[in-house]
Each structure stands twice: as structure tokens, then as C-alpha cells.
Amino acid sequence: MLVVSLAPAVDAAKYAADLGDVTLAYLGAGALLAGLVLAAFSALLSFWAGWTENGVMIQVGRRAFYATAAMLFAAAVVLETALLTHDFSLAYVTEHSDLATPIALVAAAFYGGQEGSLLYWALILGILGSASLVASAALGPRLAAYAAGMMAAILTFFLVVLVLVASPFDVLQITPPDGLGLNPVLRDGGMLIHPPVVLAGFASFAVPFSFAAAALLAGRTDAAWIAHTRRFALVAWGLQSTGLVLGMWWAYHVLGWGGYWGWDPVENVALMPWLATTAYLHSSQVQERRGRLRAWNFGLVMLAFLLVVFGTFIVRSGIVPSVHTFAISAIGPWFLGFLGACLVFSVGLLAFRSNGLKSNAEPAPAVSREGAFALQNLLLIGVIAVVFWGTILPLVSGLAGQERVVGAAYYERATGPLFAVALLLMAAGPLIPWRHAGAPLWRSLRWPAAAFAVVLVVLIAAGVRSLPPLLAIPSAFAVAGTVLYEYARAAGRWRHAGGGWSRALALMAKRRRRYGAYLAHLGLAVLVIGLAASHFWQQEKDVTLQPGEQVAVSGYTLTYTGVQNRELADHTELVAAMKLGGLTLEPARATYAGLGGQSLTHVAISSTPVADVYVVLAGTNSDGSASFRVFVNPLVTWIWTGGAIIILGVVLGNVGARRAAFVPVTARVRSAVGAS
């Protein structure tokens, strides 16, 4: 009343408007605080109720988890509303958007900064965690309660950070008329798909981790947890695969250095959990089929999550130099503490349950499917070790006094042989029977061996003399040969059994997990061929041309025709025109005057299944000439196609698949549980 009576009418209206802005911040911060209370409540109650097998309280704990997810969703809606309405009273909105940014990118600023991406991370865990709990009834209430407790504890940590250290709802004392805008590199269509997928991938590893830890806590070390965990490990693996390929695609199309993978710390920390989960998806079959590798499987799932937390710490603390710059912030020590707690908890839990993880099954011979999976696992762990030490070398050597950094050559030399053996194993593994190998093995191996030999001869005849491509490309064809042989063998067997092709396809659909996995293998083979060809046979040329002059690279002739200036909404572009046959390529340099004159290169790419012609405008000169860097990258489209086939294999192999039947182990459960 006092305010209204003393202030003029116009100021009262402004006061109301300001209050409206600030209300959005209070709503968001309030939702996060309520989420924190609910998550902590859910964690404590779920552990206690699981321990005492109190069915009603297990349900209350689970519902508190769902409510936490709802609060995170509400906070996300508030933040998105603040961004879309340009509410610059919020520091986050001011720092990551402005009035000139296209609206889709303003919406994407939700996960474009530190605080918003943490909220997105927590939201995805809330949603996937809720889905996993809804689907967990068959696991028995105790295990599901512990899993809810684990996920709620992880969410509690994230919400503590979001509320106390890195809130996206901090209010500025003075509301500026416009924001600072999104980093120009992020002003791209790729921003709409790559970060949300890769962040969702990161968040999703917490679900299999929580179920593995819950199974250990509940003493359920049989294979029942595997079937449930595998499903969510596949979700995480699928998301991470998509995120990695999209990241490569984006780097290739936006950064303008002609490549797609630079062994940057951020790429490395996304690759490591993917490798650990790839190992788990294979070794888990050994436990399902043969009851072996129990401790190993638990260890792999936990390792994947620990690597995710480690990666998040590395990327967000800013302690290791990277092209993916999150502002250096105060959350580093929090994530280091969380990493330490997760590590101690995981190792302690595995040690505590180690007696129950011993296998009674008889050992398998080395040449068997089990042996192949074990070797593949060791190779992937080897790759993880190489990447891990390369990533933290600056940190470790910095502590020792002199900071050292390793480049791509280290990673390629160290991981190359490991990947090569893994690839050969991938060609042979699916044909090696469980338990033992014998004469049928050698007969069926002739197909991948023939594919390898034919491609090797063709490459040698074409003049290739370098060992790495002579190993990688024939191996990838051998993998494809194995997959096609398996499909042909299955189709032939079922067709001859009666019913024709439609029956064969129906039977293949029934065993979709197996044949979906083979499709993913085929996709990886295609991807590897693309990686190898574009890496080993890339051609590059730096030229300065006058209008009308030509340059030829690897048989492709480009003619420079001139340069022009274009004014766009938030930046200006200097666009060069290059004729390639009937096509005009337009490499450009964009300058953002509103961002202190930051400039950015826009690559021009002509893609065919054979090769990409990739042109970067390096600069223009006063005499009308322009400097270019021209790359010819063979078979790059195979990488994106291979990635798409992998995802298709994961989806076709698992969507609509029937759930495995579980044998309930905990009999002492109150009837109220599972009634809802």
C-alpha cells in the first residue's frame, strides 16, 4: 500500500512488471529447492524402506522421486519461458541469449551454459530414472527401492549444486536492455541436436549404475539385474553413440579444420563411458549365458558412471584445456568430491560383496565366445586406459611441475593396434560358438577371411602400401562379411524349414536382439571404413587465387569466381564463390559486430559417397584475391551412414522386444508392494 500511495502511476506499473520478472526467478528457484527436499527425502526413505522391506514406504519413496522429476520439469519450463520471453533480469538469460539470436537458438540456450546444462542433466535423469522405476516391478521391491534411493541420491547432489553453487535463476541487480548472446560457434543448427543428445547420454549412465549398485546392496548378484540394467545401458549406449556421431558431424561442418575428431578432452570423456558400456553389453551376455564374469559386469557398469562423473568434473572445472569452454566456475570441487564419494562407494560395495560374486561355472577354453568377449573387454579397457592417461596428463604433469600435453599422434599410435585387434575379433567373435570351438568354427570363418583377403589384394593392387589402412579396411570388410554371412545363414535355414522369406523375416524379428546387434556391427564396419579412408587418404592444399583462377586437388578442379559481402540479422558475412563442375560452393567468414567483432568460418562442403570436397575461406586480400584451404576427404559420408545404421540396429533390435521373465527372489515382501 505504501508503495502504491507514494509512487507515481507509471512507476507502479514498472514495479509490477519488475515483480513479474522476478516472480519467474522465484518460481524456478522454488521448484529447485522443493526438488532438493523431495530428492533427499526420496533417497533416505527409499534406502530405509528397502532395508526394512516396508512396502508402503517404498512406494512413498518412489513417488517422491517422481515428484522430484516433476519439480525439475517445472524448473525447466520456467527457465525456457524466461529465455523465450527475453527476461534479462535473470543472469543466465543475459549471459546466454540476446534479442537478435534466432528464437530456436534462444530456446537451445537452455543447455548452452553451465547452469542450464546441469538442470538439463538432472531433468533427463529424473525422466529416465522414473521410467526405469516404472518398469522395475519384476525386480522385486527391495532392489527397486535401493535403485530409487541411488538415483535420488545422485539427483540430490545435482540439486545441491543447482541450488547453492550454480543456479540458473540468479537475478541481476540491474536488468540490462539486451543480453550478451550465445557464443557464435554455437549459433548453428547442430546446437539443436548434438548437445541435448550427448548430455542426455551422460545423464542416462546413472540409471544402469544405480540398478547395479542396488543389486549389490540387496545381495542380488544373479543375472536378473542384468536384463533390466542392459535395457537402460542400451538406452545410454544408443544416446551416447548418437551424441558422439552428431558431435563429429557438427565439428566437421562447423569448426573448419577438415576433420571430425581431435582427441579433445571433451571428446575423450564422452568416448570413455561409451567404450566401458560397449564392453558391458558384450560381457553381460557371458553372465546371462554362462553365469560368469559377475564382478566384472558390476565393475563395468560402475566404471562407465564413474567415467561420466570424472568427465563432467574435467570439462566443467576447466582444469584441463579444451576447445569446449565452459566458464571456469566454483562447481569443480563439488564434482571432485562427488567423484571421490562415488569411487569409494563403488569400490567398497564391490569389495563388500566380493564373496557372492564368485562364479561356480567351469572355466571356458580360450577359443570360445566367452574367451572372445573377455579379450574384447580387455582391449576396450586398454583403449580407456590410453585415453584416460592422455586426457589427465596435463593435470598430472602440471602437479609434477611441468605441464605436458599429448596430441592426436599419441592416441592414434596407442589405440590403433588395440582397435585393430578388436576389429578382427569383431569379425571372428560372432562365429565362435559358446564353450568351445571346433571344426565348424574354421569352416564358417572362411567367409570373413575371404572378404579380408579380397579387399587386401584390391588395396595392394591399387598401390596402398601403408600398414594401418591395409589392416583397418580389410578388417572392417571382414566384419561386414561375418554379419552378411550370419543373415544369409539364418534366412536360408528358416526359408528351407518352410514358410518362405516372410516366415524367415518373422523369425528374424522374433530374435531381434541378436540380429539388431549384427546390424549395429555392420554399421560400425561402415563407419570404420569411412574413418580409415578419410583419415589415411585425406588430401589438403592451401592456395591464394585471383578471380577466374583454378586449383586442382585429388582430381577435383575448383574455380574461384569472386567474393561479396552479405548483411544478416546478427552478423555480416564475407562470401567467396567457388565453382566445382555445375555446383557453386560458398565458403564464408562471419563477423559478429555485437560480440566484439568475433569472427567465425563457414565451411562449404560438396558431399558424395566417394569423397567430400571441403573448402575453407582463410582470408581475402585488397587485390581481390582470396586464400583458401581445400580438403578432399574420401568416404566421410560413410561415417554418418554407419552411425545411422548403428542406431537403427539398436532401435530395431530392442523396440517392442518382450521383457525377460524374472524369477522373484525376495519372498518376504508385503502384499501392498506392487499393488499400485
Binding site: 528457484a29 522454488g30 521448484a31 522443493a34 512413498v60 513417488r63 517422491a64 515428484a67
Partner: protein, 34 residues
């Protein structure tokens, strides 16, 4: 203000979270009627 909003949201979430307790018949009441 944030505290007030959080309290209101928790209050609103109450019936959903506590529903299993609300729905489950009171043990002592059941005992007396048995």
C-alpha cells in the same frame, strides 16, 4: 520468497507423494474390527 514458493510446491506435491499412506488402511483400526 523462494522458500515460500518451495513450501507451496511441496504442499501441492503432498497428496501425490503420500497417497500410498493415505490409501493403506490403518493397522490399528483393522485390528480392532477383526
Amino acid at each position: 520468497m523462494t522458500l515460500l514458493v518451495a513450501t507451496l510446491l511441496l504442499f501441492a506435491a503432498g497428496p501425490f507423494v503420500l497417497w500410498p499412506l493415505i490409501r493403506t488402511p490403518d493397522d490399528s483400526h483393522e485390528g480392532s474390527t477383526a
